[in-house]
């Protein structure tokens, strides 16, 4: 077989195949960030409320998850959970693993955001006859979320980068598909890695610019 030029690495089929991988990468990231925002908010509020025993208990579990490598959680969900009867298709296994991990990270951000809201706001709202729950949902949370947008976007950036770890369990996302393309011909390796770097960079740098914009306009 003749050694092919590096541009053959990017023939129409391979490009389409890689784009499909990008779609999966983005899909996993977006679904995970939404799920973990929900779960993270609940855990964050529990930690912020300082309910005796309960908050400490939840915080401890949260700390354990936060301090494990994501790669380990991914392997665990995909390879170990089915032993307990939990069968997940590879896409959802990745989403669950990433969401579990990211919820723990976002819970910290939510707690930090809530703590940054002026205490006086609570008292003012309560004085105006709002209940605890109402104060939280209508007064405090909206302000806290506004401040949290930039750190949440940086978590989204981490998510996009971390989906590459799922190539370890053969999820057909961008990095895995890159590996498949350079399995066709080993001369493709450098061009493929360069292009993967560029794609991830453009995606994440774009996100970081959005974060910066929010930072400037909401502060």
């Amino acid at each position: 077989m003749v050694t092919l030029g590096i541009f053959d690495a990017f023939n129409g089929d391979n490009v389409n195949y890689l784009l499909g991988g990008l779609g999966i990468t983005v899909g996993v990231s977006i679904i995970s960030v939404i799920l973990s925002l929900l779960a993270g908010s609940i855990i964050g509020i529990i930690q912020f409320e300082k309910i005796p025993y309960f908050s400490t208990f939840v915080a401890t579990i949260n700390n354990i998850i936060r301090n494990l490598p994501l790669l380990l959680i991914i392997f665990f969900v995909y390879f170990a959970l089915p032993r307990l009867g939990v069968h997940l298709p590879i896409f959802w296994a990745t989403v669950i693993a990433m969401s579990t991990f990211e919820s723990a990270m976002l819970a910290e951000i939510v707690r930090g955001g809530l703590e940054s809201v002026d205490r006086g706001q609570f008292e003012g709202a309560r004085a105006n006859g709002l209940t605890n729950g109402q104060t939280m949902f209508y007064i405090v949370l909206p302000q806290a979320y506004k401040k949290m947008i930039p750190p949440i976007i940086s978590q989204l950036i981490s998510l996009v980068k971390d989906t590459s770890l799922a190539s370890g369990i053969v999820l057909a996302e961008l990095t895995y598909r890159g590996q498949i393309v350079y399995a066709q011909n080993t001369t493709y390796i450098v061009p493929i890695l360069v292009v993967l770097t560029l794609v991830y960079f453009l995606l994440n740098y774009g996100l970081s610019l959005i974060a910066k914009w929010f930072d400037r306009h909401l502060a």
Binding site: D13, F54, F57, P82, A172, Q179, Q184, T186
Partner: protein, 289 residues
């Protein structure tokens, strides 16, 4: 008052959550025990009308992803298709074949987890593995060999028995374990997949890559600077694997395999995939009638 209420809530919530976790674990273990009970693969695939095969997606000749169709292609894939057709005929239940790419390290897990029904993925039959999965008759005779650079001066696995050499293998393959027995002094580094191992060899991360000859031939075709040396130093017949204790499925597959060997389809597939591999006498792979 307010504080006491919060405290009471905290205590109750903690107990509820702790109980939920404990009960959850207990339930999970119970389910795990139930799930480990026998589940018949043949019944499952007949009910579904589909056999989900675990196959390789990064291995030339046996299973390599075609990026145009996003499906893998190779000898293993064609065998799986032919077997599915044959099993459908035998059982009278029409079934289709679907493919899930697996890595060497994960295929047994996926089989046990019933993510896949069977796997035909360059998998060597070993006594150790036969304790946890069921194998069919061998469908391909491979053996472990060595791929080195042509000017490396290495001629056999014995030459590698030196702590200055590194042999590259893939996690979860038999070569990962056997290499240490033949070259105890050499370093052995296991990579995630064959493509990475080949890349690593080209990047000089090791002096040789070791796995089944059939797979190495695929790499030698594409990289003319590299060749196989020392012949085959272990026997590594490939088998089709199912979960443990799946006699009906294994019997059906063995019958189908026999038929394919007799009616010439097997030889056609051998010719299709191996007749153009330099250095390999593909006629040796054919079944003689």
């Amino acid at each position: 008052m307010e504080k006491a209420k919060k405290r009471r809530f905290g205590i109750i919530a903690t107990i509820v959550l702790a109980l939920a976790i404990v009960l959850g674990i207990a339930w999970a273990m119970q389910t795990a025990a139930n799930n480990s009970k026998h589940q018949d693969t043949l019944t499952r695939v007949e009910k579904r009308g589909q056999i989900i095969w675990g196959v390789k997606a990064d291995t030339k000749l046996f299973g390599l992803m075609n990026t145009k169709t996003a499906t893998p292609e190779g000898f293993d894939i064609d065998m799986a298709k032919a077997l599915t057709v044959q099993i459908s005929k035998q059982t009278g239940v029409p079934m289709s074949a679907s493919f899930v790419p697996v890595a060497s390290a994960s295929k047994i897990q996926l089989l046990k987890n019933t993510n896949i029904d069977g796997t035909i993925s360059t998998m060597t039959i070993t006594p150790e593995r036969a304790k946890v999965v069921d194998y069919t008759q061998p469908y391909f005779d491979a053996g472990q060999s060595l791929l080195v650079k042509k000017d490396s001066g290495i001629n056999s696995i014995q030459d590698m028995n030196d702590s200055k050499y590194t042999v590259l293998v893939v996690v979860g393959t038999t070569a990962a374990q056997m290499t240490k027995q033949f070259a105890p002094k050499a370093h052995v580094i296991a990579l995630q997949d064959y493509a990475s191992a080949m890349q690593a060899l080209k990047a000089g991360q090791g002096q040789a890559m070791s796995t089944d000859n059939a797979i190495l031939y695929g790499f030698a075709t594409e990289n003319p600077d590299y060749h196989l040396v020392g012949g085959v130093f272990t026997k590594a017949p490939y088998g089709i694997a199912f979960d443990h204790d799946q006699k009906p499925m294994v019997d059906q597959t063995n019958r189908a395999l026999d038929t394919l060997k007799k009616n010439g389809i097997y030889n056609q597939l051998i010719k299709k995939w191996f007749s153009n591999v330099p250095g390999l006498d593909w006629h040796e792979l054919e079944v003689k009638s």
